[in-house]
């Protein structure tokens, strides 16, 4: 059994380096009918992507026909075997373009008032420099939200991902107070965006949302299954967000691929609020060697988004 998983891992690393995340995730998914990935109503785009068949063979499917798999609630409890996901966010490159937020909202069929990913304007102290701080769920290895859930609606998988099953969630919101990073959002009413999603619900897709339940960033395991990176990673024009696997020691932002351990070592990667002991799976690279001054994060914002930052120490100091 162990041998098998080692083999998987080895195999998966080779494939990963060769073909990006696709094959690795495919092997990890352990098969599943190809038909589950193909949307017969869609039109062909001409571009091919590789998916894994039940027999373990890699098959090419047209990207336009590709449908994200919606695994069952039971299946969603199992992590992708042999994987341990990690995210690295390079604060030196973020200019609050907010493409990550938009892609995430669209991908998860979320209303405006529910953002799985938030971009904060942080300044650690008066004399230190302000910086943009994209914050997904940290998928902690010691998740307090999971500990406090009275019904087991939120759970930690073997691949490190923390998910919420909104069929099980009773909406007590204890996990929201348990999370020290204000990551979780609550559906205070039925938002019409939930209706856009006609597929059956799967905790891996976090969609369609449900009134009276909690949801949050899910690391997009439905995308990982078909060898894609999460919405925020592929949407970011600056390549701020890297996604990968700790065991494979690789992270990629879609264009560049790094060795995770080396990246963290060379760039002094850290985890936010390490002292709390939650052991996040999201690492930050400090905002050094900035590609953009902080100001560049303001001009393209809508008035609503702009006013979110009006009470930050930075904005108060730089009032026009």
């Amino acid at each position: 059994m162990e041998e098998q998983s080692n083999l998987n891992k080895k195999n998966s690393r080779r494939q990963f380096l060769k073909k990006g995340l696709l094959a690795g995730a495919g092997i990890a998914a352990g098969g599943g009918l190809v038909s589950a990935y193909v949307d017969t109503n869609a039109t062909e785009s001409g571009k091919k992507v590789k998916v894994l068949t039940t027999g373990g063979e890699i098959m090419e499917v047209d990207r336009g026909l590709l449908k994200l798999p919606r695994v069952s609630r039971e299946e969603s409890h199992k992590g992708l075997p042999g994987r341990k996901f990690v995210m690295v966010i390079d604060l030196g490159k973020c200019k609050n373009a907010r493409k990550c937020v938009e892609a995430c909202q669209k991908g998860h069929h979320l209303p405006k008032s529910q953002e799985f990913l938030k971009v904060y304007l942080l300044q650690d102290s008066e004399k230190t420099s302000p910086y943009w701080f994209p914050k997904p769920c940290f998928h902690c290895d010691n998740p307090l939200c999971v500990s406090v859930c009275p019904v087991g609606a939120t759970y930690k998988r073997s691949d490190g991902i923390v998910l919420i099953d909104n069929e099980r969630c009773i909406g007590c919101k204890f996990c929201m107070t348990g999370c020290p990073y204000s990551t979780r959002v609550f559906a205070w009413k039925h938002y019409h965006e939930f209706d856009e999603d006609k597929e059956p619900y799967s905790p891996e897709a976090s969609s369609p949302g449900k009134e009276g339940t909690v949801s949050k960033c899910d690391f997009c395991p439905d995308l990982i299954r078909v060898g894609k990176v999460p919405y925020c990673v592929s949407a970011c024009p600056m390549g701020v967000i890297y996604f990968g696997d700790v065991d494979e020691d690789t992270v990629t932002n879609g264009t560049e691929t790094y060795q995770f351990s080396q990246l963290i070592r060379d760039r002094a990667g850290y985890r936010y609020l390490e002292t709390l002991g939650t052991r996040p799976c999201v690492y930050y690279l400090p905002p050094v060697d900035r590609q953009f001054p902080v100001d560049r994060g303001f001009p393209d914002l809508t008035e609503e988004v702009k006013s979110r930052y009006k009470d930050t120490p930075y904005s108060r100091k730089n009032k026009p």
Partner: protein, 437 residues
């Protein structure tokens, strides 16, 4: 005429027989308040929790404040009556029944408020079928249901003698269905020495039980907050602090209840200044403890001034200035002054102080819950004011009022069904005194 004099029940509890016009008006008023609360509840069910002031940052509001508050006053009965019973305090008899009723009634109302916070009430049974023992909410479910059960038994045991008296009383003009209920509930108690002995033992055991269960329940409630990492909540003192605050608020509610029933049912001869001073002194001691715990909690937060604790304390002294002053200064000092200085110790003063204490303790829970949620580790950056600062909406206030109305209504109805003072016990005492005279 002769007969009427012979019925002690009529003297102690005239309300068992008839309800005055004012009594009916009071009940109708309470029903109206409750009715409006039900309307508000349906608004919340059909329009979603958006009709409340709660949002993603302040996920719990006055509902959870009320939950803590009602659970708190329920310990009036559990701890105060239990302790007074075990120590065989001589003056306890006229007030102990009220304390037990406060316990049971508020224990029924408290959990309803936490249900109002739940996003999907239709899935509530998941707490039982999928309950995880690792979650403090499961601890709460177990503890509170045990507490309700235990306190019901304690109240019932204490009522048994009176139920037998009611069954045997031939003078009160009561409808036959009520007689039948009394007969069934009295369980064939006749006051035989063996029965008395057993009843006393059972009551002693239950008194000890409810004291310990009450401490557990309130600690578990406090741990819902203190097991999280939130600034202001993550505190080791919360368990005992909540227990003290609970008994403290319970003693104040007991004094108010004593004053109301004494006035309405003309019990001036039985509930005297002596009783107000005695419960007042209990309240004074608890006030001192409460003040000490509060001081200790905030001192350590302020002195070490960790960044987030500092932000929280700044918030408390800015936006929550008056609630903070009322709950943690006035709410502590007033009973010390009014009950502590003999000159001020009048029935009216002690009752007015109790009202202030009850308000102070409600606010105390508010400033424990809301400011912490308004100052999380990551600063709230939001353009929508209602997502930054919590303000309860009319829906929440209506349900709040409905909760208080249910409390008053159940108390009123209970006092019409059984005597609000333990008649049998007082009669025995009166007989003893007669013999001595």
């Amino acid at each position: 005429m002769e007969n009427e004099k012979k019925s002690p029940l009529r003297e102690f509890a005239p309300q068992l027989e008839q309800t005055s016009f004012a009594g009916y008006a009071w009940i109708v008023f309470l029903l109206a308040v409750i009715g409006f609360g039900i309307y508000a509840f349906f608004q919340q069910v059909f329009k979603g929790h958006e009709v409340t002031g709660m949002r993603d940052n302040v996920v719990w509001g006055v509902y959870i404040v009320n939950f803590i508050f009602f659970m708190g006053i329920s310990y009036a009965g559990a701890l105060i009556s239990g302790t007074l019973h075990l120590f065989k305090t001589t003056w306890r008899k006229p007030v102990i029944r009220m304390a037990e009723f406060i316990t049971v009634i508020s224990l029924l109302i408290g959990p309803c408020f936490i249900l109002l916070c739940i996003g999907r009430l239709d899935k509530l049974y998941y707490l039982v079928i999928f309950g995880r023992i690792q979650s403090p909410i499961t601890w709460d479910v177990i503890a509170i249901s045990t507490d309700i059960f235990g306190c019901f038994i304690f109240l019932y045991l204490a009522l048994l003698r009176d139920l037998a008296t009611l069954r045997d009383d031939d003078f009160l003009r009561l409808p036959s269905w009520r007689k039948r209920i009394y007969k069934a509930l009295a369980l064939g108690y006749t006051g035989a020495p063996e029965q008395q002995q057993r009843l006393n033992r059972a009551t002693d055991i239950m008194a000890a039980m409810v004291i310990s269960i009450a401490i557990i329940v309130y600690s578990v409630l406090a741990w819902i907050f203190s097991v999280t990492l939130q600034p202001g909540w993550h505190s080791t003192i919360f368990g005992p602090y909540f227990v003290i605050a609970a008994v403290y608020s319970g003693s104040a509610v007991l004094i108010i209840t004593m004053w109301v029933f004494r006035k309405v049912y003309h019990l001036e001869d039985y509930i005297t200044k002596k009783h107000f001073v005695a419960v007042g002194v209990i309240m004074l001691v608890l006030a001192a403890f409460f003040g000490y715990f509060t001081f200790s909690d905030y001192l350590t937060k302020w002195y070490g001034s960790e960044k987030n604790d500092e932000l929280l304390i700044q918030l408390l002294f800015k936006e929550f200035y008056w609630p903070f002053i009322i709950s943690n200064y006035i709410g502590v000092l007033l009973p010390l002054i009014v009950v502590g200085i003999p000159k001020f110790r009048t029935v009216t003063n002690i009752t007015l102080t109790s009202i202030v204490v009850v308000i102070a303790l409600w606010l105390n829970r508010y400033i424990i819950v809301v400011p912490t949620l308004e100052s999380p580790y990551l600063p709230i950056q939001d353009a929508r004011p209602e997502w930054v600062n919590y303000t309860a909406t009319w829906v929440e206030w209506s349900l709040n009022a409905a909760g208080v109305a249910v409390f008053c209504l159940l108390f009123t109805l209970a006092s019409k069904f059984v005597p609000i003072v333990p008649v049998t016990g007082l009669m025995e005492e009166a007989k003893k005194e007669d013999v001595l005279v």
